[in-house]
């Protein structure tokens, strides 16, 4: 990939909208996210001429840093975690727009000082009062920060002032509703950008294009032709150094309720009226409203949790979850979740959607697999002597792309079939890596395009779906009831049974 030169004919062809001059204020700016992701992404966009020269970043955190220290701190971040400085002059110009404003998230005077400072910057940087407030702080500070911003009258202008929140949006239905109420008290829904960085991924967006720009698949995209759908997001990493957060979250909150649920929505939703934010989000909401866990009477038949025990990966012995530093030795936090959803609508009645996500899986892989029904009557013999239904796979990671499995005749005199795949890969077709999700989402926020952000009612509806399982699991604190799986294997046996009871199997990927 790195050896080929950029396509000179491609340069400059894309005419992008340029955001208005604005100030991005990051709360929790001393944290990793700012240094490793946010600012490197903003800087790269600046180098790519996708941002106006007036763009200004103000970091807010408790530490007593100077502007200069903050700039140097971020420069290190761009060098270490971004694409490098590239042009010293460009960095100098960019750094002139970086500022630091120390403050406490719970002190009203901090907000007043910040407000005054932003007002001064409006003058010197010509940013016209356009603001993005990015909350990169622990989720339990969200309500406080939002209320304070509201109290300081910093979110009053619905046109010019925006609020960015990172997941998690609450930790269950009640807390999500509370958070939404706090938000709605101080600003309007069209000012709020709930970032789920999964939605920034090219493949997820391509799902919309694939479904609604092609006439050949959509007629098949329903209960008449689809047997079931599997959505997998598997990680090889363990809890790493996030035990403090992960212990209270677990795989359901960390991954399934947001990333997998968004992927699920885009796979199952009806065609939107248009591409504007609310048309798409309304369709996503509709499909969520029709969705439930498949068997609410017997939760264990539609929702399985698991936790990794020690095992071997890449020739190294891996500690089990309960042996990780910072984890309770009797922890019941799930590191694996599998669920079966049922959608009660005309398109999907009777088609199960299986979602699974876990840590310490054998492979880091994310995909959506649409398995079609088998042929009504098999007249050919398969070389492998097995049923081979057609599967359409939308691969998210690694190698973003789309592949379709179909049966082909094996060379030779007899009519024997074998499964082959037609493949499309982003890399090989476009010759570029798909861009980092963060910069796309940041840019959309600056442009005021909410399409790829989650709306409050979507968040609540997604929580509603998983609540039965969540509350059942949370109330069961017995460390012996949570199924275990060995690190480096796919899932606990209970998760196998989830599909086997219907005569289906998880894809081996």
């Amino acid at each position: 990939m790195t050896a080929i030169l950029t396509n000179p004919l491609r340069v400059g062809l894309r005419q992008e909208k340029l955001p208005e001059p604005q100030i991005i204020t990051i709360f929790g700016a001393s944290g990793d996210l700012t240094q490793r992701k946010l600012v490197p992404a903003i800087y790269q966009m600046k180098l790519d001429r996708r941002l106006p020269p007036e763009i200004t970043v103000v970091g807010v955190a408790r530490r007593d840093w100077s502007h200069e220290f903050f700039r140097e701190h971020l420069k290190q971040g761009v060098i270490e975690f971004g694409n490098g400085i590239q042009s010293e002059a460009a960095w100098e110009e960019f750094a002139q727009g970086l500022f630091y404003c120390p403050g406490d998230i719970d002190k009203p005077e901090s907000y007043l000082r910040l407000k005054a400072f932003l007002g001064e910057l409006d003058e010197s940087r010509k940013t016209l009062g356009n603001r993005v407030f990015y909350l990169s702080v622990a989720p339990n500070f969200f309500p406080e920060a939002i209320e304070q911003l509201g109290a300081a009258d910093m979110l009053a202008d619905a046109q010019k002032q925006r609020l960015v929140i990172e997941k998690p949006f609450g930790r269950d239905l009640t807390s999500a509703q509370n958070l939404n109420q706090v938000v709605q008290k101080v600003c309007r829904e069209n000012q709020v950008y709930r970032i789920d960085h999964y939605l920034g991924k090219e493949t997820i967006q391509n799902l919309l294009v694939f479904r609604f720009a092609n006439a050949i698949f959509e007629p098949l995209w329903n209960r008449n032709y689809i047997d079931h759908v599997q959505i997998t997001v598997a990680e090889t990493v363990g809890v790493e150094d996030r035990a403090g957060y992960y212990e209270s979250a677990g795989a359901l909150r960390d991954m399934l309720q947001n990333h997998l649920m968004q992927t699920f929505c885009l796979t199952a939703m009806e065609p939107p009226n248009s591409l504007d934010a609310d048309s798409i989000r309304t369709e996503k909401l509709k499909v969520l409203q029709a969705t439930r866990l498949a068997d609410l009477q017997n939760l264990e038949r539609c929702a399985v949790r698991g936790q990794y025990s020690s095992g071997w990966m890449k020739g190294k012995e891996i500690p089990g979850y309960r042996q990780e530093t910072g984890v309770d030795p009797n922890s019941t936090t799930p590191t694996y979740v599998a669920m079966q959803f049922a959608i009660d609508n005309w398109r999907w009645k009777g088609v199960p959607f299986y979602l699974r996500t876990g840590k310490r899986m054998p492979k880091k892989v994310s995909e959506i697999a649409i398995q079609f029904k088998e042929v009504p009557w098999r007249i050919f013999q398969s070389a492998a002597k097995q049923a081979n239904p057609n599967v359409l796979v939308l691969q998210i990671h690694p190698d973003e792309g789309i592949s379709l499995q179909f049966e082909a005749k094996m060379p030779g005199p007899d009519l024997r079939t074998r499964t082959e795949t037609m493949e499309f890969g982003y890399d090989s077709s476009f010759g570029v890596k798909s861009s980092d999700a963060y910069d796309r989402l940041l840019l959309d926020c600056m442009l005021g395009d909410q399409t790829l952000f989650t709306r409050s009612d979507e968040v609540e509806e997604a929580w509603r779906i998983v609540m039965p399982a969540l509350s059942a699991w949370e109330s069961d604190r017995n460390p012996n009831t949570i199924p275990l799986y060995e690190a480096g294997t796919w899932e606990p046996i209970e998760a196998e049974l989830l599909l086997n009871q219907h005569g289906r199997r998880w894809r081996r990927i």
């Binding site: 396509n7 000179p8 004919l9 400059g12 062809l13 005419q15 090989s428 010759g431």
Partner: protein, 441 residues
């Protein structure tokens, strides 16, 4: 597949009326006092310079009852079709030479007989992409044949009715000045005076941009963007020479004809996206460009873009002529290869609304083993001429579903909210100037 543009519904706030120049502000102010539930949109202003007085002729002869705004919208096309029917011309709905001459004759004949054209109630049903984009004020400058020594002015106001209506109607004021071209130029101050201060201004200059034209330069100085359409340049290609100086003066010129070649650029780039073809881009040394006879502007911009992007230095340019009015060019690549290019104009029966659309592109190499052969052609033309020579077998053939005849109004309106300057256009214009000046020597 042609899509018909539907006119958005418009609510009339003020019928068109003649006013004296110094009464324009008062007339407009009064308008918003009368219409309590409507207010002027606070967005941007548009100036349209209309050198061809087709709407006026149509109005005078009773075919047209819409506003004289220089916008060739559905209403104008209806009127043109009506007039063509009345005069037994081919009904196209387009302002071609024959129709224009006929209208002028009829107008002269009518004015000799002293028949006053009926002032039809101006029933504004139709509008167009520009009105729908929600400007605050559209100022139309209509050059006419009039011999009057003072500008005439008309004001009117309409409000586009949007699907999701906000509480108040957001209306647009129309101010129209007419007078002969010299009079308009001499009165650029009057035009400046009716522009809304503090709002962005977009100028659609339907003519050749000329730096030394007083009206043009005074408007260009204030405008966020000046939009022109090189498909209608009078002198054709030599008019391009006036653009680089304007760009270097920091003015933003957007040629909507440049945007018409975007699908061709996109597909050209796309054929070299796959990594296995990427390096073949440096093997191209033969380029053929076919275009609809009438305007070579798109062909020139395409070749200049390609040369600029691939670092080809223009070496020579000559007009060969012949059936296809061939133009031959030579470039020198940075690695010493000589690149030959040929622009051929194709006679074609129905050019559509826009003349000079690209019809076919062939990128090829004199090395038979090269993997760069690419043929792009539009559906109107077919690829026959391009495919001859047996290269089609080994090359990549793509059909450009060219959005043929992209309507000028829509393209103009699409540009209103663009805020970044198009450096690619500037680069292309620099290369094009270099090529064109080769011939001048």
């Amino acid at each position: 597949m042609p899509t018909t543009l539907q006119s958005p519904p418009m609510a009339k706030l003020l019928s068109s009326k003649n006013v004296a120049i110094n009464e324009i502000p008062a007339a407009l102010q009064e308008l918003w006092q009368v219409n309590a539930n409507a207010q002027r949109a606070n967005t941007f202003s548009v100036v349209i310079y209309e050198p061809a007085p087709i709407q006026q002729l149509l109005t005078a002869l009773g075919f047209y009852d819409g506003p004289i705004d220089g916008i060739n919208g559905p209403l104008t096309r209806d009127a043109l079709a009506k007039s063509q029917q009345a005069y037994d011309l081919t009904i196209t709905g387009k302002a071609n030479e024959v129709t224009f001459t006929k209208l002028e004759e009829a107008y002269l004949a009518a004015s000799k007989q002293n028949i006053a054209p009926t002032a039809a109630e101006q029933n504004y049903r139709a509008a167009d992409a520009i009105a729908e984009s929600g400007p605050s004020r559209i100022v139309t400058l209509c050059a006419t044949n009039s011999t009057a020594s003072e500008l005439e002015a008309q004001v009117s106001a309409y409000s586009p009715i949007k699907k999701r209506e906000q509480s108040a109607m957001l209306g647009c004021e129309y101010v129209m000045f007419s007078g002969n071209a010299a009079l308009l130029e001499a009165n650029s101050q009057i035009v400046q005076d009716v522009l809304l201060p503090d709002l962005p201004l977009y100028v659609w200059w339907k003519g050749t941009p000329k730096v030394d034209h007083a009206l043009f330069s005074s408007l260009a100085d204030r405008a966020t963007h000046v939009l022109v359409d090189s498909a209608t340049f009078v002198d054709s290609v030599m008019d391009f020479l006036s653009i680089p100086p304007l760009l270097t003066q920091g003015r933003s010129i957007i040629d909507i004809n440049w945007q018409r070649i975007a699908p061709w650029q996109e597909l050209t780039a796309a054929t070299f996206d796959p990594p296995e073809r990427r390096n073949a881009i440096n093997e191209i040394d033969l380029v053929e460009v076919n275009f609809e006879r009438g305007s070579s502007a798109q062909a020139w911009m395409y070749i200049a873009w390609l040369a600029g992007r691939l670092g080809w230095e223009p070496q020579s340019y000559q007009m060969v002529g012949g059936d296809y009015q061939l133009r031959q060019l030579q470039f020198l690549a940075s690695d010493g290869r000589t690149i030959k290019a040929e622009l051929a104009s194709m006679p074609i029966a129905e050019v559509g609304e826009v003349v000079g659309d690209l019809m076919g592109i062939k990128l090829d190499s004199s090395d038979p083993k090269a993997n760069c052969t690419t043929i792009l052609c539009s559906e109107t033309a077919g690829c026959m001429r391009m495919e001859s020579g047996g290269k089609a077998q080994s090359g990549l053939v793509e059909q450009v579903n060219s959005l043929a005849d992209q309507n000028a109004e829509q393209l103009v309106a699409d540009n209103f909210h663009r805020s970044n300057r198009d450096w690619l256009y500037a680069e292309t214009m620099t290369v094009l100037s270099k090529i064109l000046s080769l011939n001048a020597v």
